[in-house]
Symmetry: D2
Subunit: 372 residues, 4 copies
């Protein structure tokens, strides 16, 4: 595998997460060449220079366009606000770079479709940052499902809740503007959709409902402005595999910090997962006598690869940032032509189309088929 | 308060539960006269006689009609399969008896409406067996909501899951016949609806979806028969108070035994409850500094009346049957003209109409208004 | 089985619990004759009369001695403060009554030994109220141990914690007086000891430590009085079966309400139980592949007799008072000469001797053998 | 702060953990100079070269003595089996290097005392690897205690359990040899002791008990060999602050993977922590009305520094390896003369002396004072 030169755009929440992953991946896995952290782009040259110093990048630029066309760069990490994804990803792909773009692809489906077209035209790897699916525990769930351990899945429930918008007196900012997106649906609903996709495949039909817990929010200079986005969404689902489902999203859910609660019901058992306890999965099966059946809590362990690359002892716990390191390795394998577990634009577009169908359904108050 | 003579119809699951409640209520509460367990009716005189002996009833009959017209009887407990409720309840009311009928009212809305009419005409107390709402912890939740402890409620999620229909190889029986009802929706969806009603009031609009996890089930004599009812239901809700909601029901949910999982989100906090841990409630509020906020688990205690009537020490735990004793006392108070917390036919019809709207919505694939 | 006439002494916490049990046992089990609640004794005739009315006893007396010699009485329930147990139990036994005495036997070992002698001399059943061992979940644990499901037990940890003495500003009362007993050790340490005895047998050697969280407590009329008893105890154990163990007790443990936390480690698995979630047990075994082992939570169900006598559906939950009903049935079976699961004076004395050895050990700061 | 050149001895479990920490610390914190990973030592030149490549070290050696005297090296990470710690640490200190040595200091107290003397003589920083105390949640607990949030601490319980020695048929290896140490006590009992020290200070008196769950273990070539170490230990404690306590350790505890369970009882509340859910702490206080008190679960969040350096969102979870990164930063600050939270040899010796007193106590069956 050849070493890769990395360009990073953005150093916020996920930007730092990408930087840490690129920095750690070789030491953790020991089987990929150490990436070279070449260029970091930020909104200004000054900020870029400071962040490059902190995060260990060799060069810095205030102009992301120069980064995506830099001949030294092999891969571009795009971690800017969602509205910037299309231009950056398309430019990078057109410049012949591999792209690792944070979710979701774009704020409008049409833009996402253009990104997919650019990826196809480029022949380069275009992967999305859906780190939750990289959790060894999620892989374990996939394995259990593939083995038929809970039989045939017939019903699922996915919830994602956080409370960063829960305070009604928090000032109005762009997350409440319609131009930004629908609200919880695209802001983080794509996360449970990515897990659903990974574990159980596509969605056929949806019936969505979106709600605003607060009609307006205060403005910095006094007065209040009407909220335009929906912090809450709930969706009835029919999956392509025939199972029924429910999804519920709430970014105003006091007390929920990073909850992604998943219940998968099958003909021979049930699986339950909560991202707030990301090193655990609960499994109920029929493999024992009736009087001793129960949900068992399996702790992440070296038996759940690649947990073993991080820690040789069971039950010691991976962290959120470790998931990005795993994703980074998958990306490197994919670029090297190896089999990898990633959501690329080809699959990511399915998630975007599902989001679009849900939004349409919610606005029109009826069931909508997800296009393919 | 005058003593009451009790007639009990049915001695199955809830019949025994009623018998235990009538037997215990005076000793537990110490403030109501000891009911006289007068007559027990079962399908045959023989069975009735045996059960009367076991459950402490003075007389037995194989003819429920004689029971409901028996001049010695003040109150009739109706605990038979749902299809029998209308005839029995109406006959008892017409005979001038108070009625305590297990949920749901009937398998068809029209029958429930007739029952309501009979109750109104009789001037007698006509109460429904919705014991989950009698849990001191549910009352505590109600108190927290009334106090505004979690602010204004804007979103709710209610789930009810059991696994008594989860085995696809269990023989076909009446619960899979359409004539019995819709499936999970009316079989036990009325339970979460009763709690929703108690805590937050009525439902305005619904959009339901129902699913069959198993297309058919084996017959005793070989072959298989198509399942006609829906073991799974999921519903989008708009409440009369303006909150949005989701309800999900599954009687084929392996591993869930008596789960009623409730999440209530407000502008200042969140409440979470699980019937499988019925002596606990989780509360998240903003009353402390950010770095020490968290969901607290409150254990049922004498501070949550009428827990104190059962046990003087906190955290020792009530059981499922104790809820019926509380309901029994409420019924006795209501009959005596005192204020009581009960779901009577007047309110119960609201639950039935909601069920009806959900079923209609599911069959027609669209949102439906709940009639009032 | 012949019907029994019951005399009850005391109507406090456990007195009411006994009354409810005697009242419910026939209806719940259906296989024992309905006991006749004959006489109730309390500190005064007036109080006794009021309580008899509430609890359904036919007669009342302010003189417990008349009760224990009443020719109509078959069984005497003794639920008074511990200091009264010896006189009452011995008098009842000498009068030829069966005795059901709340734990512990006495506040001094010598008294307990006298009680045992009286029981032996009487030939009557002399049982102790150790209701926690009647939990169907505890029976399930016993079954798992007997089956060798967790292999050979080599280590145990038992904790019991409540917080009724946790407030340092609560007024001084008799629980802080040395004449009452040692403190947490005999006040409720006998509960975990009773479970230990039931599950794993006797204790060989102990090394105890007792501590006072608060040196003094306020007096009603001002000033403070030195606390003489120990709200905290911790004990190293060697069991007769060769296992090592730890026991820890704290009646000043803020937040713990009825916690009895048990961990049993064996060569092939582990069992964990918490009385505050008395309808659950956790089991870890090696019966599955390494990557899917975990503690499973088994919910109480009809498969765990006699849960089925209370509720036909799993996971619905028994309550604290139900345990007494089970114990009552065991007592009735024992009186009828059937096999029963009870701690009688013969075995209860083992618990008292263990308590005595622990107290001696704590006072002398050394290991002490438990006498047999 | 000047940049540091790092030498690492050992690349096993904790060796890799150190390497990852040195590699990540600058990017995570952004306020320390990027360390230079200079030399890695392993048992052979060949292994060292391979590991240096994987872990990003510039040079490799099969001779640890050459590393500790290498003039380019500023800090030596010692992560070899415990028996090697004294020679390596003393040699490094004598060569004027700062030392970061994994716990425990040594297998014999005399060796640990020599290490302390060498550290004092050197004037260099000599820190121990006690990463659990670096958890932001542990710091939060410390803060709560310092604030008096649970009042005066009067009782503590510490448990540490894993199951890596739980299989009685696992082959005999050095962990069962007496020359290696006492068993669970020094193998991992030092971890809870380090947390106890950090949160509550020193131990005054101990009474220990150690046990062997399995008398012998199979040898590779047939036959069995007697086990010489104690996989189980239990200890009664008196702390210097006057509180009583219990500690229990078991490395044969089936199902426990990385459990460190801590209960701290105070006059106004209780704190509970479990390392297997290292991103949570439970807090019970009296700050609300009685009917709504309960243990709250606080999730790790940016409000618990330095969590914020890893992730800006709450409840997303740090991992085990992140704790080492935090410790690494503390070490760098300490070397730079800043205030740091670390257990250095000066304090670590207190833990070693406590271990020694416990072992002595267990062997002699009596209480022993911890020397200072």
């Amino acid at each position: 595998m050849k070493s890769l030169n990395i360009g990073l755009i953005g150093t916020g929440y996920m930007g730092k997460c990408h930087a840490l992953a690129w920095n750690a991946v070789a030491s953790v896995f020991g089987d990929v060449p150490r990436p070279y952290l070449a260029v970091l782009a930020e909104a200004s040259q000054e900020l870029a220079a400071r962040k490059a110093q902190e995060l260990g990048f060799a060069r810095a630029t205030g102009d992301w366009r120069s980064l995506v066309t830099d001949p030294d760069i092999d891969v571009v990490s795009i971690t800017t606000p969602n509205a910037f994804h299309p231009d950056m990803a398309i430019a990078a792909l057109e410049a012949g770079k591999h792209v690792w773009c944070e979710k979701p692809m774009a704020t409008k489906l049409a833009d996402a479709e253009r990104m997919l077209a650019a990826a196809r035209a480029s022949g380069k790897v275009a992967a999305l940052g859906y780190n939750y699916i990289q959790n060894p525990i999620i892989r374990m769930i996939r394995k259990l499902l593939d083995e038929g351990r809970i039989g045939e899945v017939n019903h699922v429930r996915f919830e994602m809740d956080e409370d960063f918008m829960a305070d009604p007196e928090e000032l109005f900012y762009w997350k409440s503007e319609a131009s930004y997106g629908h609200g919880a649906l695209d802001d983080f609903g794509v996360h449970p959709l990515s897990i659903l996709w990974t574990l159980l495949g596509g969605v056929r039909r949806v019936c969505g409902h979106m709600a605003k817990p607060y009609a307006d929010r205060p403005l910095r200079d006094g007065g209040r402005r009407a909220v335009e986005t929906y912090d809450i969404a709930a969706i009835l689902l029919e999956l392509e595999n025939g199972a029924s489902g429910v999804m519920a999203l709430n970014r105003s859910a006091w007390g929920r910090k990073g909850r992604i609660f998943i219940q998968i019901f099958g003909s021979r058992g049930t699986i339950v997962f909560d991202q707030e306890r990301m090193n655990e999965v609960q499994l109920y099966t029929l493999d024992d006598a009736r009087d001793r059946q129960g949900f068992r809590t399996i702790l992440a362990a070296p038996q759940h690869p690649p947990y073993d690359k991080f820690i040789p002892a069971p039950g010691h716990g991976l962290g959120f940032n470790d998931l990005k390191v795993i994703e980074c390795r998958e990306l490197m394998r994919r670029i090297a032509g190896e089999r990898a577990m990633l959501i690329e634009f080809e699959d990511g577009i399915r998630i975007e189309r599902t989001v679009d169908a849900i939004a349409k359904s919610a606005h029109e108050g009826r069931w909508v088929e997800v296009s393919n």
